[in-house]
Symmetry: C2
Subunit: 201 residues, 2 copies
DNA sequence: GCCAAAAACTAACGTATGTTCGTTAGCAAG
DNA sequence: CTTGCTAACGAACATACGTTAGTTTTTGGC
């Protein structure tokens, strides 16, 4: 047999991306092999190459698409939050946690497989990450300038906050004891309590 | 030639562990290969097997030894902090950050290569991690019982705090803008601000 | 209904990898 | 000085991996 009845390029391509996301998430990029990936999709290893350029390009596409989607969604959430700095900060934290709860695999890969990207791809991804971090840093700077936040060092605070919020990916399981909203709310509360100036509650 | 003049088992074994730590830290366990490791140590690949059982056993040893050392050091730091819950919590946070600054490679591997451990090893390591997390959870429970802390959910708070404090490993570089003490202090401040009951400053 | 493009197949290549085997030279105890 | 253990060596094995080549069947536009 050759081409399979009912096969569709777009459908297979999506199946490959979904399966790759899952496998890389579970095992890591280096430990995932294309034979397992093909088996998961239900095709032969060589057939993958009708849809991907190389294994490396597949990883880059997954990471790149995730980061651009995250940036766009974040900007939309900030836009919706209005002009007030504290409101925007809350919105950023809430959106970050919720997004990370819902896209655990994408997030985890984008954070932990950076080193698996070859130099040109690595550079582009790092630039996107920096752009994302800049969103938070800008908010902290604004809050400091307005005298409503109090942190010793903005960069350290930004990284600490991002680390804390991203941490949900490592332990969250759907259908757990707490609702997503409860998890989001508590993280927002921890962040705000940590950075708010004592007087301005 | 066969045995090299001046070669010593203990010295080579330590060199292997150090090199493995560095390579796994940089590339990940799956991406590290024993030929590169041997080259780093300056011996032939087959000679590794005079000192390690398998690649997997090497990873387990590294992770296991790190976690037991971390547990012991943490208990010593808590002991030194005295009986007061808030002091112990500060001591825990400070020690965690400082230890993580100094042992970035060990920590990173222990956190990110869990999935590379085969089931029996995985189980033992997870048990050690849980024991460590329990130290923090116990402190938070005590602080809540004393009415001096205010968090919505102790487990979530514990994981969030650990994620935040462990985050330093991903961006810290020795010789950077801030001293270790400054980084530690700020993280302790962020944690305490996040969990302290408003009245009890 | 025909035909180029798409999307799958089978087979294989070249290399990389973890590990084993047999051997040999240095070291320390008797 | 001998002898047994240690720690290295070189060579190789078996497998696994990413990828390519060539082929075959289905699909969709004319």
């Amino acid at each position: 047999m050759a081409r399979i009845a009912g096969s569709s390029g777009a459908r297979t391509a999506e199946a490959i991306r979904r399966a790759a996301l899952r496998l890389i998430w579970r095992q890591g990029y280096a430990a995932m092999n294309l034979r397992d990936l093909a088996a998961e999709v239900g095709i032969q290893p060589s057939s993958l190459y009708n849809h991907i350029e190389t294994k490396q390009a597949l990883l880059f596409d997954l990471v790149h698409d995730h980061l651009t989607a995250l940036l766009a969604a974040t900007d939309a959430a900030l836009e919706a939050a209005g002009p007030d700095t504290l409101e925007r900060l809350r919105a950023f934290a809430a959106h970050h946690v919720l997004y990370h709860l819902e896209k655990r695999a994408e997030v985890y890969i984008a954070n932990s497989e950076l080193r698996a990207l070859d130099p040109p791809n690595h550079g582009r991804v790092v630039a996107l990450r920096r752009a994302y971090e800049a969103r938070l840093i800008t908010l902290l700077e604004a809050g400091m300038a307005e005298g409503r936040l109090a942190v010793a060092d903005i960069t350290v605070a930004a990284y600490a906050i991002l680390a804390m919020l991203t941490g949900v990916c490592t332990w969250y399981r759907p259908g757990g004891r707490l609702s997503n909203a409860e998890i989001v709310d508590q993280h927002v509360a921890l962040v705000m309590a940590g950075v708010l100036k004592r007087s301005a509650a």
